[in-house]
Symmetry: C2
């Protein structure tokens, strides 16, 4: 496995790969890899000749009061994990390489970035769409893999690629969960032992809502009940629990066709998200 | 010369050209071609194997009270002119092809779009940078040629390409002028005979300022004098006359290093622009 930190070097490698007719699968990450990220590598390997993973904690997608500084980082561990799973190239630029001068240019997706996480994290998605555009332009992948864990991000990236006629196909990979159901996240390591145990409330709420919907129960009542349970969970502070159409992310009052139930909960200053996509509820 | 109106068809052609190792020079236009546009084709031919010209009057860069509807169009004449100059492919999509669904995604360059034309035409540059991004993604050129006539646009595109790590080199081509000095523009045909004659005031003002600067005269006095002359020109309504650093477009009070003198004047409802770049004034 190669590790490349320099934009002009990776451009050269990409050019060579393309000249040789190789297809490129791209897995953009912020590092501190877990099984969720590695499942994206598996997905990329299925359909592409070469897998490039980027590891870059992107400052422009963190708000001034968010956890950019405390976001966990461990490049050596990441390299070993990426290599073990068959990643061909890790692209690991520093902030100066990605933002060498004052950035004036932003890629913004309207409307669907103003709800859920976007309503709570001002400027977050603008940072995401801008850095993903930069990475796409540098890596020029045929396919890019994103996790369903960040369902809103996936919808936003999809819309951006479509609107801007970008030359890349977006593939989603399902959420990978711990044994107790907690969605894997680099932020999980920052939970206290008690909070880690209680964090199971996110996935349990989602599973309960899905079950209720399939039993024909009323969405609003299921959501209300879940909110009460979270309210009674020690250490948990609900950020949002919402039902939305997918990928348009419009408010829905009942689950029809394709519906996203998305949740965000704080434990201390650690913010966890999870979601479940319910297709054609019975 | 080929004419292609369909995005997936031009993508196929581009793919074939790239596979054959051809370099692509791109000339984005809004049509109603004149010698200014054709000089961009010449410039593209100098350094690329294949020249693709787009002809698309982009609605998203016109304000609600601007001249989108009355912007001159004549595709048959354009085709003949493009062909005569050696253009290989004309890409001529309609609005539905470029904007098939509600566009939520915008590429925005801050700061340098808030002055000169950007201060007067709200949303104009957002429309330009977004459509240029789309066209770059569709045509995937090695080099794209823009006219110095739209000096601010060139600075904005340059900054966008740099900030977003786009895989294209931007080249500028000098302003092409009529015999009396009027900068060529598709909008010139919309001038009355009297206005057409008086429109020479734009370039004359710029040339006079440049001469004055090289003679060591004070910038503010030269600008004031030019404004008075325009004020006394029948039919002319000054929109702006400004001196700015280039490409940062910051206000300057004296011309040092590289300085842009830019002007916009209305004759009736026709808005004309022109500019002159003064390098290392003597």
């Amino acid at each position: 496995m190669e590790k490349i930190s320099n934009i002009s070097l990776i451009r050269e490698r990409v050019k060579d790969l393309k000249r040789d007719g190789k297809t490129i699968g791209f897995v953009p990450t912020m590092g501190y890899l877990h099984e969720g990220h590695l499942s994206l590598v598996d997905e990329a390997k299925k359909s592409c000749d070469v897998v490039i993973m980027s590891i870059f904690v992107n400052p422009t997608q963190f708000g001034p009061n968010e956890d950019y500084d405390s976001y966990p980082r461990d490049i050596e561990r990441d390299e070993a994990l990426a290599k073990s799973r068959g990643t061909d190239i890790v692209f690991y630029p520093d902030v100066k390489e990605m933002y060498p001068s004052e950035t004036l240019t932003w890629v913004e997706v309207e409307k669907i970035t103003g709800v859920l996480c976007g309503a709570k994290r001002e400027g977050h998605f603008r940072g995401v769409t801008t850095v993903v555009t930069k990475l796409f332009n540098i890596v020029q992948p045929d396919i890019a893999i994103f996790g369903q864990k960040d369902a809103q991000q996936a919808a936003v990236i999809h819309k951006m690629v479509e609107d801007l006629n970008m030359n890349v196909r977006i593939k989603l990979a399902p959420i990978v969960r711990e044994a107790d159901g907690l969605a894997m996240s680099s932020r999980n390591v920052r939970l206290s032992t008690a909070d880690r145990k209680n964090a199971v409330i996110l996935s349990q709420s989602l599973f309960a809502i899905k079950e209720g919907i399939n039993e024909g129960k009323e969405l609003s009542k299921l959501m209300e009940k879940a909110k009460q349970v979270i309210l009674g969970t020690p250490g948990a502070r609900l950020d949002y629990l919402e039902a939305r159409s997918y990928p348009d992310l419009e408010t829905v009052h009942a689950c029809k066709d394709r519906c996203l139930i998305a949740i965000a909960v704080y434990f201390g200053n650690v913010r966890l998200i999870d979601n479940i996509l319910i297709e054609n509820p019975s």
